[in-house]
Symmetry: C2
Subunit: 165 residues, 2 copies
DNA sequence: GTCTAAACGTTTAGCCCTAAACGTACCAGG
DNA sequence: CCTGGTACGTTTAGGGCTAAACGTTTAGAC
């Protein structure tokens, strides 16, 4: 059994009265849930022989629709990782034949990343498994509870984005 | 500007009708918030010359109260990382003089990890900075909104824990 | 045209984690 | 005893990320 967020906050107040603990009960479960979910997804995908970072990359390209092409900069904007990480992801995907890199003719010095047929096949094969699994996990909340939760998370994410990095 | 969770779900439905998208609007903001928060915390702590993993370790020991000692197994239970990661964290903290390792006299083959005076000082110096920062970020929601959000997150975390690893 | 500033992508060093293999200590049954 | 099982902690191989330094291309000022 793991320590609850409420217990962590109480422990700080007991040990160090005056410690600002008001964020703990909100952020601790968020960080924990994210870890549980991403670790679980990593395991699901390993069984399918693919890694999570590559799946994220292929997903973004697949969702873009035909011709399944985005520049490195667009990928960076859509994925919340650094440009360096995108560069590494694309290099790995290219290595495995799941995506290709080509100069983009849109002015600027841009690189166009495109899904290959093999990459398309991988994403079609994995996306339902991954999202189906997530679907099972989100079912711990009723539809009404989810409708309550979603706007609160959206508001919090928006606020945090204005204050970080 | 980044893609919203609603846009991601809509894109999947447009590109692949039938894709199970009901989890996306819940889990996407959770995973994103966790990344924004942990990356931000990493930066705050780097400015103070300490890394996040070490702070987590020292925090757990500090919250335990005098004599600030826990076994490796207890640390593992309280932190959601593997025993191997704890072993590495403790080794780093020991290297820097922030914690010590000693055989635990409680039967079994256990290792007792204890906060040193230097470790105690580091945690006292950092915890208010970190939690104060989090406090600013959680203020994007009103107290009422937080009271609505907390039990929903708790319920979801509990459910997910029963279904994963 | 030329030159400077900005945009873009890649590379590298360093950090941290997981999973799995491993070594060792304790305990209970025969 | 002693022997197998179990609990505990450590080590290692490999993956992924960030930040920062870097090289290159493009656009704009003049």
């Amino acid at each position: 059994m793991s320590t609850t967020a409420a217990e962590i906050a109480a422990a700080w107040r007991r040990e160090r009265p005056g410690t600002p603990t008001d964020s703990i009960e909100v952020f601790t479960p968020i960080v924990r849930l994210a870890k549980l979910l991403t670790d679980d997804r990593t395991r699901v995908l390993r069984a399918a022989g693919i890694d999570r970072a590559t799946l994220d990359l292929l997903s973004v390209l697949r969702r873009a629709g035909p011709p399944y092409t985005l520049t490195t900069r667009e990928l960076t904007e859509r994925t919340l990782v650094t440009a360096g990480a995108i560069s590494q992801r694309v290099a790995r995907a290219e290595q495995e034949g799941l995506a290709t890199r080509a100069p983009d003719p849109s002015g600027h010095k841009a690189v166009a990343v495109t899904l290959t047929a093999a990459g398309h096949e991988v994403i079609e094969r994995s996306v339902d498994a991954v999202l189906g699994r997530d679907s099972e996990l989100v079912a711990g909340l009723s539809a009404e509870e989810q409708d309550l939760l979603i706007p609160l998370l959206g508001k919090l994410e928006g606020f945090v984005r204005t204050r970080v990095g």
